[in-house]
């Protein structure tokens, strides 16, 4: 079936819904989502959304911008960070005005709390900047935006999976999608397409990410020749639930929780004397890994899956129930631990992609190192790289990113489509996608995806994790290539058209394999340590050679690397200490 819209938005998390709210007021808009919209992973974000409201103590957007740049180890594009932090303030008020139930101060204003790497006066000490709704801030943002979409009659196509992008030179003309309930392939012809498909943490074994976080947007773009930016920078959140990787919010430390090793020592005193447990995530995750390797983990065997304790017992039941109720519930459900009574066993968990589809501050996708705009193609949220997170994102800045840049992209699309021509619908545009799906379902027997997925996740976790070496990353590239070869003979077991979730998972696995390859190759290429990319063979940051963004292109089975400059127009890069 062929559809025609001015605007097609792929993904219905925070970025997609905010863009939809803006674009739908100005153009005929469709939102395509592989999940029901309120199931998106924005809903799992816990701790808060930062904005320098100054409701609790003095704060300035400029301090927030500086923290964002320094937190990103100076790989942040600084003008983008300035926009992010200045527009943060109105963005949070807008969410409140649209109904978001923030926690309140005694004066009835939006309450704020501490979060990692957020400081006053350019690093002098922690500041209360994170606006929050208990430990369900992402859930509340997703609900509020979905509610607004209902109010504004936004058109949703629920459970539609994107499989290809229609490109004509440097112009995007729509997307190809498969409708899960029927198996039918649809062509959505559009003047503008926005990808807001979220992250791809499912390439790793231990992750806080949902099953749905398979990087569908970036993978589809990469296969259509668009380079992906800074893919080597993947954030490991310091505190995931032991064994499962479920997120334990940084808000636990923001409220006063303390990390301890097997000796009961507050080891962050040695790694970050000023910010302690509230140092940025890359630093805390490395510190935990270093403790574990030194035999200071709780088991003390030095193995990669040893863990440390997050102690929140001194916070008391009242704080835990009023400010961290979901965390308390997760610990009781999955660990049998009451955080009011006992410390929480935690270890780092793959959490957030700093890299993704390159965009400018309007959400327009940039197709090369020279700044060439791909007409009609946009990206926002975790799948995009603006870049406001650089080499390491600060906590709370992801919710902010998707609200600010989802909105900006939606507004820009609204203007763009006024002057753009509606592409001629072309039934042939789906030919390649049809052939691929037909092959996957041709009834021959092939390896099942489950084993390939398992091996991919293990390889990425062990060889492209927190600490990296050339030898391991080269092995990862080779192993992922071998898995991609095996993937070519994978076949769908389910022969039905209706809700063929087997087909869906095999499509998703293909996306993860492509993104794993690009991530491993980009990491192998960058010969320095910066933010979340920590190389044991190149332990120092090297601004002379590596103060630049990576642009990695997938050309068949090879990854080719190009670069583009970092915007350092506001602050000169300096050594980073906390």
């Amino acid at each position: 079936m062929i559809h025609q819209f001015d605007t097609v938005i792929v993904g219905s998390g925070g970025a997609g819904l905010y863009a939809a709210l803006e674009a739908s007021q100005r153009s005929k808009t469709a939102v395509l989502s592989k999940l029901y919209p309120i199931r998106s992973h924005t809903g799992a974000a816990q701790g808060g959304i930062s904005a320098a409201l100054g409701n609790v103590e003095e704060d300035k957007a400029e301090w927030h911008a500086y923290d964002t740049v320094k937190g990103g180890d100076y790989l942040v594009d600084q003008e983008a960070a300035r926009i992010l932090t200045e527009e943060a303030i109105q963005a949070v008020y807008d969410l409140e005005n649209r109904g978001l139930p923030f926690n309140r101060t005694p004066e009835g204003r939006i309450d704020q709390r501490r979060f990692g790497g957020h400081t006053r006066e350019f690093g002098k000490g922690p500041v209360k900047r994170a606006c929050y709704a208990a430990d369900r801030t992402g859930h509340m943002i997703l609900q509020t935006l979905y509610q607004q979409c209902i109010k504004n009659n936004v058109s949703f196509f629920d459970e539609f999976q994107v499989i290809d992008l229609i490109m004509d030179g440097t112009t995007c003309k729509g997307v190809i999608v498969v409708e899960l309930s029927t198996g039918e392939i649809h062509i959505f012809s559009a003047k503008a397409v926005l990808f807001a498909t979220g992250g791809f943490g499912r390439m790793f074994r231990i992750t806080s990410n949902a099953y749905a976080n398979t990087g569908d947007g970036p993978a589809v773009c990469a296969r259509r020749g668009i380079p992906l930016e800074d893919m080597e920078f993947f954030q490991f959140h310091p505190t995931g639930i032991l064994g499962l990787g479920i997120l334990i919010s940084e808000a636990v430390r923001g409220e006063g929780g303390i990390l301890k090793n097997r000796d009961g020592e507050r080891f962050m005193e040695r790694y970050s004397p000023t910010l302690l447990d509230l140092a940025p995530r890359d630093i805390v995750s490395r510190s935990i890994q270093t403790e574990v390797r030194a035999g200071k983990g709780i088991r003390g065997d030095g193995k990669i899956d040893d863990y440390v304790h997050l102690d929140a017992t001194h916070l008391g039941k009242d704080i835990l129930m009023s400010k961290l109720p979901d965390i308390t519930d997760f610990c009781k459900t999955y660990l049998g631990v009451d955080p009011a009574e006992d410390p929480i066993p935690v270890l780092p968990t793959a959490h957030y992609a700093m890299g993704g589809i390159p965009t400018n501050v309007h959400g327009q996708v940039i197709g090369d190192g020279q700044g060439t705009v791909i007409n009609g193609l946009y990206a926002a949220g975790e799948c995009a790289c603006v870049s406001v997170h650089g080499a390491n994102r600060l906590g709370t800045n992801s919710l902010l990113d998707l609200v600010v840049f989802g909105r900006r992209a939606g507004q820009h699309i609204g203007e763009y489509v006024k002057h753009a021509d509606m592409p001629e619908p072309d039934a042939e545009a789906a030919a390649e996608a049809r052939a691929w799906i037909k092959q996957l379902m041709d009834g021959t027997s092939g390896p099942h995806g489950g084993h390939i997925s398992d091996e991919m996740q293990t390889t990425m976790m062990e060889k492209v994790g927190i600490y990296r070496t050339e030898k391991e990353m080269q092995a990862a590239v080779d192993e992922i290539q071998a898995l991609r070869t095996r993937y070519h003979s994978v076949r769908v077991q389910d022969s039905s058209k209706q809700f063929n979730t087997d087909l869906l998972e095999i499509i998703e696995l293909g996306n993860l394999l492509d993104l794993s390859l690009i991530t491993a190759a980009s990491a192998l290429n960058r010969q320095e340590s910066r933010g979340a990319h920590s190389r044991e063979d190149y332990p120092e940051r090297d601004d002379d050679n590596w103060l630049k963004h990576t642009l990695a292109s997938l050309d068949g089975d090879t990854v080719t690397i190009d670069y583009k400059p970092v915007d350092t127009s506001i602050w000169e890069p300096k050594p980073r200490s906390y």
């Binding site: 999940l35 029901y36 309120i38 199931r39 998106s40 992973h41 809903g43 799992a44 008020y93 409140e96 005005n97 649209r98 109904g99 139930p101 923030f102 926690n103 309140r104 101060t105 005694p106 004066e107 009835g108 204003r109 939006i110 309450d111 709704a133 369900r136 859930h139 509340m140 609900q143 509610q147 607004q148 209902i150 109010k151 309930s181 949902a210 099953y211 749905a212 499962l244 479920i246 979901d326 519930d329 997760f330 459900t333 999955y334 099942h448 995806g449 489950g450 084993h451 997925s453 769908v492 077991q493 389910d494 022969s495 039905s496 058209k497 209706q498 809700f499 979730t501 087997d502 998972e505």
Partner: protein
């Protein structure tokens, strides 16, 4: 431990009626039921249909009936529903909604009813301050209802819906309460029109099945009763005026 999953299968396109299929799975008792289902899906039978996403009880995708109780597969640990090797866990799709494939139900009417109560802040007044002021106490009045993830466990558990399929259902009423009780909201008149009807709040008979099923610990039945009282208070107010 070794468990047996006894799963209801049904593909409306090819099957005349639903049937059960058994799968033997080796699991750790501390694992989630969802982990066991994923094991079947990935290594035994790719054709098994179910929804899932966050895997820790916040997205609402994997609501189903587990040993006859409604809940989330990712918030149910194996040890809660099986004690010994060889124990059988029966897994079925949610009730009161049409089955599309195996454990996947069509949630269309559930969301239609949710939309009908206007689940968004209604207040056209200009905001004087930057934010609308609200005390923490005012916020706490409707706090638990904001936890709702629209998983439809309550909708499946509700015995009234079995008899009266047009009933609004627990989730939609609890979400109506979420806004009616919000000090910032002005949409009472618009919502009460939907709620004060034969298929609105009144069919609820306090079975408390919704409250028991809710994986987010929302006191749904209590919120429904509070909503009924709001309607009664509103009509009394109208009565004295006329």
């Amino acid at each position: 431990m070794k468990i047996i999953l006894n799963i209801q299968r049904y593909n409306p396109a090819t099957d005349k009626e639903p049937y059960f299929q058994e799968y033997h799975v080796e699991v750790n008792p501390n694992e989630r039921l969802l982990d066991a289902l994923m094991d079947v899906k990935r290594f035994q039978d790719g054709s098994l249909g179910f929804r899932k996403s966050c895997a820790h009880g916040v997205c609402g995708s994997d609501a189903m009936r587990i040993n006859g109780k409604d809940g989330l597969a990712c918030k149910t640990l194996v040890k809660e529903v099986a004690e010994n090797d060889g124990d059988i866990i029966t897994v079925e799709p949610l009730k009161n909604l049409p089955v599309q494939r195996d454990l996947i139900v069509n949630q269309g009417e559930f969301f239609e009813k949710y939309r009908s109560i206007k689940p968004y802040l209604i207040n056209d007044e200009q905001v004087v301050e930057k934010e609308r002021l609200q005390s923490q106490d005012e916020r706490m009045v409707f706090d638990d209802t904001t936890n709702c993830i629209l998983c439809a466990s309550c909708y499946s558990a509700c015995p009234v819906l079995e008899e009266q399929p047009m009933f609004l259902g627990p989730a939609a009423i609890a979400q109506a309460f979420r806004f009616l009780a919000d000090s910032r909201d002005k949409g009472e008149d618009e919502r009460l029109v939907v709620l004060d009807t034969p298929d609105g709040v009144w069919p609820c008979q306090n079975h408390f099945k919704c409250t028991q099923a809710c994986p987010r610990s929302i006191l749904i039945t209590k919120r429904i009763n509070q909503t009924k009282r709001m309607i009664e208070d509103d009509s009394k107010k109208d009565g004295t005026l006329s």
